[in-house]
Symmetry: C2
Subunit: 118 residues, 2 copies
DNA sequence: CCATTATATGTCCATATCGGAATATATCAA
DNA sequence: TTGATATATTCCGATATGGACATATAATGG
């Protein structure tokens, strides 16, 4: 077996930076392919292929609008990623027990502070 | 160019399910490799290889403890993923404006319901 | 019908994957 | 030293990628 298909998962689909860029544009509202091509400065076939992957994972929907195809974001499949991350949120918010970090922490607290930990 | 290396990113590293499983175990505290092998039921070399990837991305730290190597979670590299997702959180929380979805929504509410969305 | 615009698909290549099997390395024990 | 235990690395094969380029499909306007 090789690496899981990019279409296997939102995890896999979103691992590709261009694909993330595409979604980032689509958060601003639906767009026809050429808009994406222009905004991202990528070759049109590339964009189409990335859109295919996103579509297969359900991250975008398409609508035919005359000779254009308008793509629209559907963020739902991202939720599992978010959910998975929840377990770890505390881990990067919380201080580590490595000595240097702990010292930093103490220093910060001594300094008066204006916010507890978030 | 082929697909980005798994070690390129936390995004890429975490796209692999087993790697996520490993991290999921490590949230519970540091573990030597064999513990992971046992808990995950994977071949030892496989686990070692996945751990290498996680190490290269900085998601785990290692400590030598006698003849064992104890791995410890470092969730920091996951933060970029979380940050990226923030833009989309509203998108799956909010209701969509597609007619069918809206109707569904109304229906569900009328029905009293015993399960929201998953 | 033909040309043009908008998008999708197919072919090719270099690259890197995950997993399995075998083996290397390292530490401890007798 | 020899052996056992714990972990890492190497070699292999099947697979699929992203990108470049060429081409197919589809809709629109003469």
């Amino acid at each position: 077996m090789a690496r899981a298909a990019t279409t296997a998962d939102a995890f896999n689909a979103v691992a590709e930076p261009r694909r993330r860029q595409i979604l980032d544009v689509l958060v601003g509202g639906e767009r026809p392919v050429n808009d994406l091509v222009a905004q991202l400065g990528l070759a049109q076939p590339l964009v189409s292929k990335h859109l295919r992957v996103l579509r297969e994972v359900g991250l975008v929907d398409v609508r035919d609008e005359g000779r254009q195809r308008v793509y629209r974001l559907n963020a739902h499949p991202l939720k599992p990623i978010h959910d998975w991350l929840q377990n770890y949120e505390r881990s990067w918010a919380q201080r580590f027990d490595r000595l240097d970090v702990v010292l930093q922490e103490l220093e910060d607290q001594e300094k008066g502070d204006d916010g507890g930990d978030e």
